[in-house]
Each structure stands twice: as C-alpha cells, then as structure tokens.
Symmetry: C2
Subunit: 185 residues, 2 copies
C-alpha cells in the first residue's frame, strides 16, 4: 500500500450501518472480477440480507465462471445525489454515496437460493415475489445466485455545498448544488 495521503480521507466510513444504508438504497451494483489478468466490471442486481450481499446472474456469465475458480470480487454501489458547482472548475465535485464490498463469493444453493431470489425481487419491487408465479426447478437451475459476505466493506460519502478556495471569495460566479434523483414513472 502507498503511504501517500489520500485527497479526501474525511469522506471514508467503515461502519456497517453506513454501508448497509447505501447498499439498501438501490438495486444496481457494479461487480468487478479478474479473468486472465483482465478486470471486468458488469452491472448486476443485488439485495442485502443481514451480513450477506446477494447477486444473481446467468450460469454462463463470465463472473460465475470466475467465481467457480474462487476468484476475488469487488461489488460497488454508487448513488449520485448532486452536482456541486463551485466558483472554480477545480472545486467542482459531485455529492454521492458509494459502498465497496471486497471478498470471495460463493455460489448459493437450495433454500438459501430461493430466499436470496426473493430478497432480490422484493428489493427491486417490494412485494412482487408474493404476486408473481414462483420459479420452477428448471428456472432455478438457469439462474445462479452468488453470496458475498460483508466482512470487508467501506463507504465513501460527499454531501453539502461546494468547498470554495478562499481566494475565490470575491469572484462573481454562481455556485451551489444541483440535486439529482431517480424517479419511477
């Protein structure tokens, strides 16, 4: 590891409550894994249940292939909350909440697999599992569920107004935060 000082160490957080809130506030994550030295990052849907992050995908996906060989993975969930407009371009930023989970994942089977799929479906659309037809054996075989423990995780958050440089105080440049959010139509 480098001993260089990180630019914004104050944005880091390592408590599970902060990480969990970020994971639970969305259902899109980006999962990184390595095959033959090349990193891949693919979008997946997720749900957290207790101390585990569940993901699901096709058994034919590269990720599932990589996991079968015990690969390390990284799952990252990011929420963009705002565009931070400062008086100087250097101080421009975004407000965001990001959680990163590192670890070795495992393939989930049996009752845990069904419970994980229920968690994912109901995380994306609350109550939907109870409304739609349940999966049959053939459907379950063609869906792979992956569990990543929340042992190694961290969060990074930026909130609030722009941080201006003191010598920009007198500049007549409009600044502030443009809020961003998702809506369902």
């Amino acid at each position: 590891m480098s001993t260089r000082v990180r630019r914004h160490p104050e944005r880091g957080a390592y408590d599970r409550q902060t990480v969990d809130a970020i994971l639970d506030d969305g259902f899109l994550c980006h999962v990184g894994f390595v095959l033959d030295g090349q990193p891949y990052v693919i979008p997946m849907l997720h749900a957290r249940a207790g101390d585990v992050l569940y993901l699901h995908g096709s058994p034919a996906s590269r990720l599932v292939q990589a996991l079968a060989s015990g690969a390390r993975v990284c799952a990252t969930v990011t929420h963009l909350d705002g565009i931070v407009l400062a008086k100087s371009v250097f101080n421009h930023s975004v407000n965001y909440r990001s959680a990163v989970v590192l670890g070795s994942a495992r393939i989930v089977e049996g009752d845990e697999k069904l419970a994980a799929l229920e968690a994912i479906v109901n995380h994306v659309e609350p109550g939907r599992w109870e409304v739609a037809r349940q999966p049959n054996d053939k459907e379950l075989r063609t869906t792979e569920v992956i569990a990543l423990p929340l042992d190694e995780c961290s969060a990074k958050i930026r909130t609030g107004p722009p941080t201006e440089s003191p010598h920009d105080d007198d500049l007549d440049v409009p600044s502030g935060v443009v809020q961003l959010r998702w809506i369902r139509e």
Copy 2:
C-alpha cells in the same frame, strides 16, 4: 474463453455508435482495476472525446497507482431505464443500457489534460467550464487525468416489455414496465 452459450446474446452490440451513445448519456462510470490480485471498482466521472474516454481522479488514488504500473482497466457505464415486471418471477428483468471499455489507460498531460478536464466539466454541466475560474498550475498538478482508448468496447441493451413464458398466458398477474429516469431538481 468458455464455449458455453450466453443467455442473451441478442442483447450484445459492438458498433461504436451504440457504445458512444451510452457513454455520452451519463457521466458516472465504474472503473475496475487490479492490485495484488484483488479487483477494485470505483466510481469516477467521465467524458468521451472522439475515440478516447477520459477519467479524472486524485494522484493518490489506488487507480492512478495501478495505472502507473501499466495495469489493464475496465470502465463500465450503465443506465437503468426500467423495471420489467413479468407474470413469473423468473422472467422479471430490467431495461438497461450498458457500455464496457477494456484496455490499458495512460496518464494525460499538457494541453490534452486541460482539454480533457474541460470535456469532463462540460459533460457534467454543459457550459460550466466557460463560467467558472480556470485551474491554476497547482490545481492541475493535484488532479490526474486518465485516457482509455475505445479500441475494445461493447454494449449490452435490454428494452421493451416482459418476455413471458407461453404457459403463463392465462395467469392473472399484472405485468409491464416501470420506467426509471434521472431528474435534476
């Protein structure tokens, strides 16, 4: 590479026009890189200019450290467009557009660095570069710009209504697509 059949090969696209449109329709990407065998995925802001994807970050970031040693990276941009509610939980899906860029990145210097920062700032907030104070030398030194060529890239897209299983035709379960989109407030 595996010879297994991918579950939805029809969703893949490899033409640059499709990839460019996905990259240009957002400014958040997730960048994957490897340090000591561990993949990391971090959120970054990006802008495309011609055949290059520009990213920017702190010189102290792990990504910049990894790049200094010539590491391969993967930059992925995903837009979630809708939640696809089918009659069976198995046929649930999301509508999305995702672009993946693989390659070796390089650190950008000089005039190209300034042009890349302008592209990123104006991609996030059109016209902002011209309004705010320009960066001075010290500020430029503490921002690193990274260029990733668009030589190896692909897109994956799902659109449209749910694909139902024929034997679910008579099921009385409401189905359809819930549209998702970003708004600026």
